[in-house]
């Protein structure tokens, strides 16, 4: 899949946190594929997304959201206009 499918605001934000080029933030990018996506950067990403979009994730769901497409879907489900 091409990186075009990830909205640019989300892509840049995650690129900053995981310290990779924005092109690497594809829908399939995940804790498995990105070396920097460890549990702490994950927490950082979650807090950053919450602050950026003014939403709160369900703590039960947080550990499962370790893939860009899942994060994006969760944000959209919460009504965030990406």
């Amino acid at each position: 899949m091409s990186s075009q499918q990830v909205p640019s605001s989300l892509r840049e934000l995650l690129a900053d946190i995981f310290e990779v080029a924005p092109e690497e933030i594809t829908p399939d990018a995940s804790a498995e594929t990105l070396e920097n996506w460890d549990s702490f950067r994950h927490l950082q990403a979650i807090l950053a997304l919450e602050g950026e979009y003014g939403i709160q994730f369900d703590p039960q769901r947080i550990p499962e959201l370790t893939k860009v497409s899942l994060l994006q879907a969760e944000l959209e489900k919460k009504g965030v206009a990406l």
């Binding site: 946190i17 702490f40 927490l43 950082q44 807090l47 602050g51 950026e52 703590p59 947080i62």
Partner: protein, 646 residues
């Protein structure tokens, strides 16, 4: 919140500054962006851009690198970018390593732990209530359980053991975080406030105990996290969702405030506070313009708005009590200013005697401040300038960039004290006896200068001063003062090594080591500890590691008396040669010829920044000047651990 376009522009200007490797521009772009946006993403954006520039900050702006190790029991990872940014704002490049969650006891106790081996400049100890005093919430449930006291004592004793053991293995500076008082408890807020052993009361006592503990350990500062929690709002300080799910100790909204406060507590361990506050008079120290309104027309006193100015004067008086020197710098006629101080004395919290200097005239204020720096033998980086006139403020910022400038809000005089109090430049972790005597000491200095003018012959003048030097082991002298001197002395400092208290103790207690603190007094007063010398004899060579003297007393022969003291002790320790080292800096030119002036010959030194000098102790003894009376140097045992070798 600004528009998204502004945000993108600010981000772009940061990127541009980073790509052109301009540290000052990058920092001001970061300030601009983060003062507009509280969003985590912007802090992360800035931190990740600035991270790659660490060396540039050190080279271009002289920032100090702080290798730091955090011993912790909570999740600090999301806060790291905030700490990095706040450290940069305060002039430090933070290189932070986080310890494991459960390993704090081992890190602190084990002499081979990762922490000890990391050889960090700074250690942050950030523990939660479970680790610091885990029994307290249960013990405090009734609010009247006397066992709470015992639990508090044993908690503090346990942390004390950890800290003292760590101190014996490491000379790193330490910041120990206290506890934040919870917003709500099962006992309820009424009983919390009224009963002697409620959790909030107990936590306050734990914090007081930890603070006292830190005060008893060298280079250790207590971080009052409860204060920042209270100022942000205790009810919102912790996000229970993130605390319970991931042990994040602070709500994301306050990462920045927390980091700023933590850095503020770190800073006094590495940097001395500023020393002088220069205040304007018209519309700053009092309301109105003296030249137009006359002494009776200026606003000061108990009625509004004069009480705004009275509050500012009282604040200055309190600063002065702990050693901050006050100077009045104003464009006025001096006779009118004197008249105002005498006519309105009942309405003013300050008298002219509270000022170490009065610079009243019509010349440039920058020139007055330069003069004052010279008279007080202080660097411009010790000065703070307060003025209501934007032009004057801008002129000082341009001409004397080292000086901190505070713009007094002329239309809202009630805000000035708060603006001043929130700035960290007068922060210090302790107040010494010398600090409290400082104003008197600087006045005595002015009297000395006056006396000096009456003598034509320097030796006669010095003899008339009746100088007495007392040599003490740095272990018996107030160690905090010694370390304060090591940290702040720039001009007469031969090597400018910022030794910590633990390192000074090491010199004092090791065999052949010398760690002298010199007190001096004369007919005008007691200047307290004015000089420090660290040296070590190995075999027949004594090497002087550090040698410094407060610039207030340079040129009276005290430096020669110190050298004589080291030489005498070195001979007793078996040394035949005394080696002096000089490391040139931007500021220490005044002592460049110190060793040659005392008969040392320069040694060949290959490619190092240091210049080494040597004196043959068997041929040329160093003698103390005749006009100085020396005390305390015969008590050989003062320097613990030195062994007579002859």
């Amino acid at each position: 919140m600004q528009t998204d376009l502004d945000r993108q522009n600010l981000r772009a200007s940061l990127k541009e500054a980073v790509s052109s490797n301009d540290a000052a521009a990058a920092l001001s772009a970061t300030r601009a962006l983060l003062s507009e946006s509280q969003k985590t993403t912007d802090t992360i954006f800035c931190a990740s851009r600035l991270l790659g520039m660490s060396e540039v900050f050190v080279q271009q702006l002289g920032f100090r690198k702080l290798s730091t190790f955090a011993v912790r029991s909570v999740t600090l990872e999301p806060i790291v970018p905030f700490l990095a940014i706040q450290a940069l704002f305060a002039g430090y490049v933070l290189d932070l390593q986080l310890g494991g969650f459960g390993s704090y006891v081992d890190e602190l106790l084990n002499p081979n732990s990762e922490l000890v081996r990391s050889n960090s400049d700074l250690v942050l100890i950030i523990l939660d209530i479970e680790e610091l005093a885990g029994q307290l919430p249960e013990l405090c449930a009734t609010g009247r359980n006397l066992n709470v006291d015992t639990e508090i004592q044993s908690s503090i004793e346990r942390i004390g053991q950890l800290l003292r053991t760590f101190r014996s293995n490491s000379s790193a500076r330490v910041v120990l975080q206290g506890l934040a008082i919870p917003d709500v408890t099962a006992l309820g807020e009424v009983a919390d406030a009224n009963l002697p052993f409620s959790l909030p009361v107990a936590i306050e006592r734990v914090n007081r105990g930890l603070a006292a503990l830190c005060g008893s350990i060298s280079d250790c500062v207590f971080f009052d996290v409860d204060r920042v929690s209270a100022s942000c709002g205790r009810s919102r300080w912790r996000d229970p969702r993130m605390y319970l799910a991931s042990r994040v100790p602070v709500a994301a909204d306050f990462f920045g405030a927390y980091a700023e406060s933590l850095v503020r507590f770190v800073s006094p361990l590495f940097r001395p506070s500023r020393k002088v506050l220069c205040t304007d008079l018209d519309n700053t120290l009092w309301g109105g313009i003296l030249g137009e309104d006359g002494p009776q027309g200026i606003a000061t006193g108990s009625a509004f708005p004069g009480n705004c100015y009275l509050e500012y004067q009282q604040y200055l008086k309190q600063l002065s009590a702990r050693g901050i020197l006050l100077a009045a710098v104003s464009k006025n006629n001096e006779s009118e200013v004197r008249e105002a101080f005498s006519q309105r004395s009942a309405d003013l919290a300050l008298t002219l005697d509270d000022f170490v200097a009065i610079k009243i005239g019509w010349g440039e204020k920058a020139e007055s401040i330069r003069e004052l720096a010279k008279e007080l033998s202080l660097g411009l980086d010790s000065f703070v300038f307060v003025d209501d006139n934007p032009m004057e403020c801008e002129a000082i910022r341009r001409q004397l960039p080292e000086v901190e400038v505070i713009s007094a809000p002329v239309d809202e005089p009630w805000r000035l004290t708060g603006i001043l109090a929130r700035r960290p430049f007068f922060d210090t972790a302790f107040v010494s006896q010398d600090d409290m005597n400082r104003v008197h000491e600087y006045k005595a200095q002015a009297q000395r200068a006056e006396l000096e003018q009456r003598f034509e012959n320097r030796d006669e003048f010095l003899a008339s001063m009746e100088i007495v030097c007392t040599f003490q082991s740095a272990l018996t002298a107030p160690l905090a003062r010694a370390v304060q001197l090591l940290a702040k002395t720039n001009q007469f400092n031969l090597t400018t090594r910022r030794r910590s208290a633990a390192e000074v103790e090491e010199f004092a207690s090791s065999q052949g080591g010398q760690a002298w603190a010199v007190r001096s007094r004369d007919r005008f007063g007691d200047a307290g500890v004015v000089g420090i010398a660290l040296a070590r004899t190995e075999g027949d060579i004594c090497l002087i590691d550090s040698f410094l003297l407060s610039c207030r007393v340079i040129g009276r022969g005290i430096e020669t008396a110190m050298l004589a003291q080291i030489a005498e002790q070195a001979v007793q320790d078996g040394a035949k040669r005394l080696i002096g080292e000089f490391i040139p800096t931007k500021k220490n030119a005044p002592c460049a010829s110190f060793y040659p002036d005392h008969g040392f010959s320069q040694k060949e030194s290959a490619g190092s920044a240091s210049v080494f000098y040597e004196l043959d102790l068997t041929a040329a003894p160093v003698t103390s000047p005749v006009w100085i009376t020396v005390e305390g140097n015969q008590s050989h045992e003062l320097s613990a651990g030195t062994v007579l070798t002859s």
